[in-house]
Symmetry: C2
Subunit: 644 residues, 2 copies
């Protein structure tokens, strides 16, 4: 079975490394479709890599098989020799041709063996293409037959195998097909979706990906057949698509169409210098339009490839920055059909929650659905629980986020009576103690950048409150906030238990924000710019004594215990259990199987992925007996409007 | 006075040609700030033009004046010699330095004369910089003094003059200042806005531009001081900014910041190949980050320039395509502050209405404010009037736009009783006869790309209606639609009058859409893909006999009458009057001062601009005694989801 190492993530997207016999594929990746007859391929595979940074390709084993001269070369020199390329090559099996022409003259066993014989890196099972709107029984038959073929193929092939996921628009069938493919495939290739993309049915595409998700194994590499338009990359990546393949760059070029992340446009309508890419520096698009046919087509194809490659770079950067939702939202403004797709994504929140990181840098409201992102939904659901048994809460009128005073609103009124307060955030009314917590604390919405005086605005609220900084930051108020933040993260029982521990909150003298929690001069928790408490090694010891197992635990295999104790990262394959409610980015107590505390760390993987991904780090160790990472710098990112 | 020729438009943005002694400036244009000491200028002005397509620059006459070695060269060889550039050069006057340092050692007369002496193409009046939040009396004093200086400057200078528009956030003062500047300036330079942009107060920036607009002369070229961030270009262009200037490309480079249309990002955070521009083909951004200081700074500055130039190209292309609102909406997703700016723009609808074209190709709903664009507001306002005295209307449940049947929904129910119908469009309930009219007929919203079955959807509606194509397209129903379309465009009186004229509607056999209106085999009106009737020469004769002057008229100066009769375009300077309710894109009857019909044409300018712009075409002649342009092709753009 193939090996996939996860390096960074956002949404369900994964920057990772997928090993193949001809080297790794860095995901997410676009595999351009290469014609096996290089005479019909306008851009040489080596150029795809050297000029466009596209290091892996896909070609059709079926076309090779049915074309004797190509077949002869491929059988002699292998598919890599045939297309003169020494990087990873995936081969398709002719299922789409079978679907389009009604039959192929090859059996699924024949084409699988043939793929092996020509030395493909990733062979694809010849599946049954199911149209999105196929009757359920047809779809079910297609799924069953595909699964049967995949089972046989797995038994026959030692190398990497791509198994299609079919099922049309039937959610149950898609999930079943995904689960079956996960048993046999290294690459889980969601198929039958080209008709959806051709008709701009992105909402249905989202539904397909949502339905398949619970069946897809985390160690599988998810491929989406036939998605080559850059406007879909951010969107599909968000849904966990690791590999894209497409001949769209070429098909669009043939009809003179330029692809951009914002949509397509005919080259003949370009009148201005809209692009300054390395190709346009040679021949601007306005001149390409007038070139002779084949030259024009080749240049448009190259331009499309470059745009695709650049957009994939942006997707990768957004994953690293934790801004993939923002990018997908931005791309959704390219066409109403994409906005419809994003709305469908929002309805599939549950598939995102297990791997949704504990926090991000900011949450910027850019489109109407921003307020329904998984991180917001999770926050609100948690808030409901948090509020149980507390109150009464009063709601303040809207106050601008960037006002430092807001962050330290007093717990007392002018007459000294203690009250509970809530602040109105773009996420709704939030207890004042949680005002800095992600996403409430860093949610930037348009209103905050509009300086118009608001009826019942902050000035008015302040007037009634007689803010007194000294009193705002009183030990009593700080204690109360510490208590709330611990309750938020570890539950009311833990907060009650730790209340006796004589904790002392420390604020930033500059911003007034809570920065750490100490006891007897020893730091137990840092408070991040995301407003969340995170234990140090000493704090972890306290938590370990307070929280019953398995809460906040990740259990380490005996083989790795000595390494983790010394502060080395915990690798995925050494995880044997843990708290399933943890999410990436969260702090965890690393324990051995007897619940002895080894270290404290932060999750890169979700618990459901640990142990299943064979390579890579599951938990990065932050603190242990003999060492500790430094505190986060005291900067107030959310308050800086210039931090674009 | 300077001459500005308008070539294409969208929103208040104008592709135009502004003549200067050193050649024309093609608007909208970014004028990079060039340091007059070329040793301190990392990109040579000639390179700005040759490599980045930025053909005009701005430099500081004040820095030249106060730096003897530079001053000496400038006085000897002129400013063009000093900066080694033979294209258009605008000079700034030191007002910002005066504001920042409290004083400059030069009077406004001195610096104006100095600018003339060194041969600047556009001299700027030394104005009083007014902070956005300055007290009103200070702002008023600043405006009054600026106006006084400008009046003197105009008397002293024959060449092109830029007159700043000040007034802080006071709408009244901004309008007054704009009106005063319009009396004296060729370039109307909105100033005092840098503090707004630095603090992301784009909503206030929008308010400033809205307030100034009624005072700005259409023949003036509008400049916005200090806007050099590409994320603002689409937004500010929409508000009619023709010229941008900025040193931001350089200032950002100094602190290692890359500018993109989506915002700024530190070069040190770039980990992926997010850009494939011609510069990144040489040295990718990931490597630029590691270069030595000055090399790094120069390369970032160049990258910023390239991105700015590319974005300006996109703005220009969007103006030509009539999609500038879409581009601005898309850019508003870069930061919530920009979304706040767009909301403020929406509140200023009135400034957009006089030049808002009669129709566009499509209206795509991409963000929440799409439904509040000026074209929608105008449609709805007109609809209110149209509905007076008609009805009763019934409202159908939502039906997808792309369904051809919808466009031809019957005027009869199964039992034969005639009813009035409305269809629900994204713009609201619309009488069925107007279902194809822009924007109701081509408004693409996300819902239409979501195939989920909807309660009360189209199928259900159809069931109750017993659609019968033969009957749908009955002569009676067609007559009724013709009647409605004429009433929509020319009012109920005209419709009543033309009802006697025995008009015959013709539909496209392919789409069922109304395509033209005939009488006795002669075409009187074409019906565009925007659903609007537009007269041929014969139709114009009928309208001329029906509509009382000045309705739908543009009155031609006697000197141009013979040319217009022959089908030549009507130039702006030959317009002497007309119907002030006409808008760009509308059909008009061209008449002489005795109301003799000369030709029928389509407006490029708004009536308020005609005669004031000294160069360029006001009305393109479409039909006249001896000739006629061909009909639009019968294509149904809105129904093609692939038309991105």
């Amino acid at each position: 079975m193939g090996e996939f190492e996860l390096l960074a993530r956002d949404g369900l997207a994964r920057i990772g490394r997928f090993s193949t016999p001809h080297g790794p594929i860095e995901t997410p990746a676009l595999l351009p479709v290469v014609h096996p007859d290089l005479a019909r391929q306008p851009v040489h595979p080596k150029e795809l890599r050297s000029r466009f940074g596209l290091g892996a390709v896909i070609t059709s084993s079926y076309i090779i098989w049915r074309t004797p001269p190509l077949r002869e070369i491929a059988e002699e020199k292998g598919v890599h020799g045939l297309i003169d390329f020494d990087g990873p090559v995936m081969t398709d099996s002719g299922a789409f041709q079978q679907h389009a022409y009604g039959h192929v003259e090859v059996t699924h066993e024949q084409i699988l063996h043939f793929q092996g014989r020509i030395g493909t890196d990733i062979a694809t099972v010849l599946d049954i293409f199911v149209e999105p709107d196929a009757p359920r029984e047809d779809a079910a038959r297609g799924v069953a037959e595909t699964t049967a073929r995949a089972t046989k193929a797995r038994a026959d092939r030692a190398g990497l195998l791509a198994v299609p996921v079919q099922g049309g628009l039937d959610p149950e069938l898609r999930r079943e097909s995904a689960a079956a493919a996960s048993m046999t495939g290294d690459v889980l290739a969601v198929g039958g979706v080209v008709p959806l993309m051709e008709r701009y049915r992105f909402a249905d595409l989202a539904r397909v990906l949502i339905a398949a998700r619970p069946g897809l194994a985390p160690e599988g590499v998810v491929h989406l057949f036939g998605t080559g338009h850059p406007m879909t990359f951010a969107f599909a990546s968000l849904f966990g698509v690791d590999l894209f393949d497409s001949s769209a760059y070429l098909k669009f070029a043939r009809r003179g169409t330029l692809m951009f992340p914002e949509g397509s446009i005919s080259i003949d309508s370009i009148q201005e210098r809209v692009c300054r890419c390395m190709l346009c520096a040679e021949v601007p698009l306005t001149e390409v339009a007038g070139l002779p046919g084949s030259e024009r087509e080749r240049r448009i194809a190259e331009h499309n490839l470059l745009v695709c490659s650049e957009e994939m770079g942006r997707v990768r950067q957004a994953i690293r920055d934790g801004t993939l939702w923002e990018l997908a939202e931005r791309r959704s403004t390219g066409h109403p059909a994409l906005a419809a797709g994003l709305r469908a994504a929002i309805r599939g929140t549950r598939i995102f929650l297990p791997t949704e990181p504990e926090s991000r840098r900011t949450l910027r409201s850019t489109v109407a659905t921003t307020g329904l992102r998984p991180s917001v939904i999770r926050f609100l659901a948690r808030l409901d629980g948090f509020k149980q048994g507390r109150g009464p809460y009063r709601t303040l009128p809207f106050v601008p986020l960037t006002t430092v005073a807001l962050r330290t609103l007093p717990a007392q009124t002018r007459d000294g009576a203690t009250l509970d307060w809530e602040v109105l955030r773009p996420v709704g009314a939030v207890p004042i103690e949680l005002a800095d917590v992600y996403p409430a604390g860093c949610y930037l919405a348009p209103d905050e950048f509009d300086a118009r005086p608001r009826a019942g605005g902050f000035g008015e609220a302040l007037e009634g409150l007689a803010v007194d900084r000294e009193r705002d930051w009183s030990p009593e108020w700080t204690r109360r906030q510490v208590d709330a933040l611990i309750a938020w993260r570890y539950g009311p029982a833990a907060a009650t238990a730790l209340r006796a521990a004589n904790l002392l909150g420390r604020r930033s003298p500059k911003t007034g924000r809570l920065r750490r929690v100490e006891r007897d001069g020893v730091i137990l928790f840092h408070v991040g710019t995301d407003g969340l408490v995170r234990p140090t090694w000493r704090g972890a010891q306290l938590l370990h004594a307070t929280l019953p197992s398995p809460a906040s635990r990740v259990v380490v295999d005996a083989d790795a215990v000595p390494f983790v104790r010394e502060g080395r990262s915990l690798f995925s394959r050494f995880v044997i259990g843990g708290d399933l409610t943890l999410v990436p980015g969260a702090s965890a107590l690393l324990v051995d199987k007897d619940d002895t505390l080894l270290a404290v760390g932060r999750l890169l993987l979700a618990p459901g992925e640990m142990g299943r991904l064979k390579r890579g780090v599951a938990v990065r160790v932050i603190g242990h007996e003999r060492g500790e990472e430094a505190e986060e710098p005291d900067e107030d990112v959310a308050a800086d409007p210039g931090a674009l």
